[in-house]
Symmetry: C2
Subunit: 404 residues, 2 copies
């Protein structure tokens, strides 16, 4: 069904572009290495029978017509990396999609729907601190103001596009219309599939992050002279709340909540902490559930603050809506997983993906592939050839089913 | 019994030396301001009938003979400050001692024992990061190696002494022999007396600090893609331990334990904390109890680390022995407190004092005076005239009783 050897060769060949001596890959948007990577992808697309072009922001798009006059099916992912990234995050999705189209052609299967395979520009946001540039453009949500964002050298996205040599056209020219659905294969970047012993999984949605900042203020006093029952210790209060964050979140199946950043003031060995500031990152594909976790945490924090005469102040840093995968597409993916004799696992994506940008545009579906030890954004990122083959088969089967 | 007006004038007059515009007092060892302060104390001592001299490290000593050939009673405290310190910490003890001697003289009371009132050199350690220089010298524990410690400008204690102009003699010349006991009045620097509504208190001992460093290592993973039940979150582990530190310590009457300093790594909003490092400051005048608190905390931390697959590493930063106040002196102080119609409260000192240095030398006793809101090391430090008068009366009565 799939030419696994060809796919593996493509993964190896692409991984050489931008690779440092430590194995880490550095491919940032609108750079020479990223251009070379795109040129390599162009060749693979052409071999697969696709017609290639770049849109105004630099998305590389390989197109083929359908046998009927129907909306287009989109496939894709990205080929840019984080600093010292791995060879699978993003790249795998692009290469698997091309391989599926290539195999379909070799097997003489003509799809009813037109298909576009896209290597989206700058998903990671490494260069401009602003990711998913290509998918935003295709969704029609990228603005000319966004293009004024600068990299560390003061170069704007707009200038980078011009230097790269793309035709200057209105941003609206990049928006794709009359799309049936979007399908993406991506490594899981977590350990759910691994711990369940399966190669591929059906993604239920992409959890949007809610970021809150908590400030808890007590009284910074002498650690030696203040008895335990006369303290307003902000760190003990914070500790009770942080321990409860885990407890609360575990009650909700799909939620995750993380206190990742915490600062103590004045932070002296013999001074009772007078103030503690920390962030909470809460994610769930079920927005109501995420809101419930948020409410439970804040309510508990308020109780602790009241009991301990501490002042609590909570501010919102960002609140991104979760995106759901289309139920019909999910069912098709699950059927396809069953057909290759794998147990069906459905899981949310905690990390963001290009597919998020299409929330208001057209239905989306995602297929996750097992990542060794859940490691990503790291040269140690690894997914086996067998698992990659399975993901390609699931994409192949899903595409054919969705085409009918 | 006491000339409170004179005492208040002395407190006011001394507070002007080294005082900044914000009211904070800066008197550091071997500086011009500290020299002027010592010269003022010299005058007060002389008015009180004391013979004045400086020893080789710069302790200012006012002496009077006794009517009998008996060991010497020492009284005193220090007149140096922390940066932007208050007017009572240290200074009060020196001035109250001088006032008591002055009042005794005026009332024609001659003590059987010789008495020395000492303004100890550099209790706070502000300049050299090494305090209690004067009391160490008098205890005979200050070494020539200690004198090589440098201030921020690279000036050693030895050089500072020489610049100050003291006679260069062997350090051993500062050691005092044939001492009956040491008595000190000091502000509480805590809120125990205030919350009990009493002006003065009997000190049971000086709690030595035990400082431990805890390192807890887990796994720094993606906050979005790692389910709650697959995490090795070092901060949740740390939080459970820190909350328990309070719970454990509250079971022991006189113990205090504080997590004052804590650092999270990598400290990113969307990264599960991979490592947390924190300090614990444990104090008790009962060393066995302090050791028990330490054992309980470490045992609990080990349990948490094992349950959560975290690596725990505990190191000792310092372990200072607690010092007990002499039971006979404590009884005399308690009687004296009763005689001025105050409720007797006995309490440990959580902060360090010059008296600690005399642990192996001679019996010690300390009288604490109420501090408003427990504030010290701050221009807001405040003790009322009435409370100061009571502390002087208790010192007066205790001295007379101990002399008999």
């Amino acid at each position: 069904m799939i030419n696994t050897q060809r796919l593996s060769e493509h993964i190896e060949e692409l991984s050489l572009i931008g690779r440092a001596t430590d194995g880490g890959i550095n491919r940032f948007s609108y750079t020479d290495d990223e251009k070379r990577a795109n040129e390599l992808i162009e060749q693979y697309m052409k071999s697969a029978g696709l017609t290639v072009h770049y849109d105004t922001v630099g998305n590389l798009i390989g197109s083929q017509g359908g046998t009927e006059n129907l909306p287009t099916i989109l496939l894709g992912s990205h080929i840019d990396t984080v600093p010292s990234g791995g060879r699978f995050d993003g790249s795998l999705g692009v290469l698997v999609a091309i391989e599926v189209i290539h195999s379909l052609k070799e097997q003489g299967i003509n799809l009813r729907h037109p298909v576009k395979v896209i290597a989206f520009k700058d998903e990671e946001g490494t260069r401009f601190g602003f990711g998913m540039i290509g998918s935003r453009a295709i969704a029609g949500t990228l603005s000319t103001i966004d293009l004024q964002r600068m990299d560390e050298d003061g170069v704007t996205i707009e200038q980078a596009i011009a230097m790269y040599g793309f035709d200057k056209k209105p941003l609206s020219s990049a928006k794709l219309e009359d799309i049936k659905l979007y399908l993406e294969v991506h490594i899981e970047q977590g350990k759910v599939l691994e711990s369940n012993g399966v190669a591929v999984g059906n993604v239920t949605g992409i959890a949007g992050p809610l970021w809150l900042k908590f400030q808890l203020t007590g009284l910074a006093e002498h650690a030696g002279t203040t008895p335990m029952n006369q303290r307003q210790d902000a760190l003990v209060g914070a500790s009770l709340i942080i321990a409860e964050v885990e407890k609360i979140t575990k009650q909700y199946d799909s939620s995750v909540a993380t206190v990742g950043k915490l600062i103590v003031k004045p932070n002296g060995v013999n001074v009772i902490p007078g103030e503690v500031e920390w962030t909470i990152d809460i994610r769930d594909i079920d927005e109501n559930q995420r809101n419930q976790v948020e409410r439970d945490i804040i309510q508990f924090a308020e109780t602790i603050a009241n009991e301990r005469q501490l002042q609590l102040h909570v501010t919102e840093l960002q609140r991104v809506d979760p995106v759901h995968c289309d139920i019909n597409i999910q069912n098709v993916i699950k059927e396809s997983i069953q057909e290759i004799d794998e147990t069906v696992i459905s899981l949310p994506s905690g990390a963001g993906h290009d597919a998020m940008q299409f929330k208001e545009c057209f239905p989306i579906g995602m297929i996750f592939v097992r990542s060794k030890d859940g490691i990503s954004h790291n040269p140690k990122e690894f997914t086996s050839e067998e698992d990659i083959e399975k993901s390609a088969k699931v994409l192949f089967k899903s595409l054919v089913k969705l085409d009918n």
